[in-house]
Amino acid sequence: MRKKYLIPLEVIGIFLALLWLAPFYLMIVNSLKTKREIFEDTLKPPSHLTFDNYIAAFKELDFLKTFGNSLLITGASVLIIIIFSAMAAYALSRTKSKVSTIIFFIFVAAMLIPFQSVMIPLVTIFGKFEMLNRGGLIFMYLGFGASLSIFLYHGALNSIPKSLDEAATIDGANKFQIFWHIIFPILKPITVTVAILNTIWIWNDYLLPSLVINQQGMETIPLKMFFFFGEYTKQWHLALAGLTIAIIPVIILYFFAQREIIKGVSEGAVK
């Protein structure tokens, strides 16, 4: 594009970027104010800096524990999704047969099923067998997350030559050794994509944990945020501080891994 367009475009871009950030700016500015100051004016910066709201919200959210819960559930779910989906995709891509085609098709078709269509029986059945809370939740994430992950791994595996497997078989490696020591390391780029997509989804998911986690002290961040917000609905100074606290870990991660994250999301969608 010709140079004369670039300066106006740059200006438009910066304006839009600021507009995109405005909600975050307003959230942070008002989270530093007192209740009265917010009531008087939402746009003005705070008259003096105080972190009282943050201290109160941090305690109320029991943030270290809540953060730990989210970390445990997201970490465990993503880990088992990666390992089991890669294994399944490996079996499906290396065994060309009608059975494999059908199973693969079922996984892809399952992506069309909206969560709301299965949630009611799901929760009642798992509740009946007392399989709710953490273990059940992680298992459910495997069930809901496997489809897309298998689809992505399957695509990547098709471009890894079979001769690699055959050479290892001649050297006396068994199926599991071949997968774990030879194939899985080659899949690393797609594993990063799978990990990023599933982490964003599970970390932020509200509906499923709200139905499955029914024990106090096990709440994830979105779940705790919902209760917290319900209690402080007219106290925006505390609510906004709580929201800011909940976002900070994600922003820090984004700051360090933005290239990988954007690349992962783009690859996950385009493939």
Binding site: L21, I113, S117, I120, L122, W203, L211, I247, I251, V270
Partner: protein
């Protein structure tokens, strides 16, 4: 690996077990329950199509379906237009384009529930503050009427998802060779002609992906709906996902809620299949 080998099934077992227990069994069981008087614990008998017949007279459900359809169509158009515009902007040779990509994409990393709460503050408090500053009455009372609730949801979703769709368009835009665009420029095509005749057909496959993603995200929306408007005022901004949830877990009308869920599944599946079919056909023609 062969199908008869135990290792084949061992590799597949964990995900197959999870898919069957978490998705397939509940789906089939749910279809069965929708023909009964199931109350969440037990079903005492078949009721035939009674649940389904009731749905078509259920104004609250039909309203939510209509609201969801309107919301989805408006959002899909806006998200794709904004997303493609942002993609074109950040693929121009600007000094700040890396930073802008980072900023536009950022909302997608944060959960819909939290974003909805943030925007609740923006719409109800900051909008009102800004409105009295510049003297615009129309900025007051947002989310307290059906139409501001609707546009509030549309703005929230567009703000959140445009950056996601932008990333998809960027992937396709960057795949277009520079020579092709330069050749068109040498041939005398202006910026608009270059976009319409060269760039646009080449990013067409991105529409398939983007439409699918925006549709499935807007049609099944729950979290943002819950935290921004909570369905209010007077259930006027209640989308289908929330309506089903409330029928099941607030009114405890399980079999009835499940039959709504089955209808929802059929609608989603039909839309998705039609969409894939149309897009594939169009791509072939191009």
């Amino acid at each position: 690996m062969r199908i008869r080998e135990w290792s084949y099934w061992l590799f597949l077992m964990p995900v197959l077990a999870a898919l069957v227990l978490v998705v397939i069994a509940p789906l089939l069981l749910g279809i069965y329950y929708s023909f009964t008087d199931w109350n969440g614990i037990q079903a005492t008998g078949f009721v035939g199509l009674a649940n389904y017949k009731a749905i078509f007279q259920d104004e609250r459900f039909l309203n939510s379906l209509w609201f969801t359809a309107k919301f989805s169509i408006v959002s899909i158009v806006l998200i794709n237009v904004i997303g493609l515009s942002l993609a074109l902007l950040v693929t121009a040779k600007l000094k700040t384009n890396k930073l802008m990509r980072t900023i536009f994409f950022m909302p997608n990393l944060i959960g819909g529930l939290i974003l909805g709460f943030i925007w609740q503050f923006i719409f109800t408090k900051a909008f009102a503050g800004f409105g009295s500053l510049v003297g615009l009455e129309s900025l007051k009372g947002w989310l307290s009427t059906p139409s501001t609730g609707f546009w509030g949801l549309v703005i929230l979703m567009s703000w959140q998802m445009a950056g996601y769709i932008m990333v998809i368009y960027i992937a396709y835009l960057e795949g277009i060779s520079k020579e092709l665009i330069e050749a068109a420029e040498i041939d005398g095509a202006n910026a608009f002609q270059r976009f319409w005749h060269v760039i646009f057909p080449l990013v067409a496959p991105a529409f398939t992906v983007s439409m699918f993603l925006t549709l499935s995200n807007t049609f099944k929306l729950y979290d943002q709906n819950l935290s921004l408007t909570g369905g209010g005022p007077y259930d006027s901004t209640q989308m289908v996902a929330m309506e089903i949830f409330n029928t099941a877990f607030k009114q405890y009308d399980m079999a009835y809620a499940q039959s709504k869920a089955v209808i929802f599944f059929i609608i989603v599946a039909v839309i998705a299949l039609v969409q894939v079919y149309i897009n594939k056909k169009r791509e072939v023609e191009m």
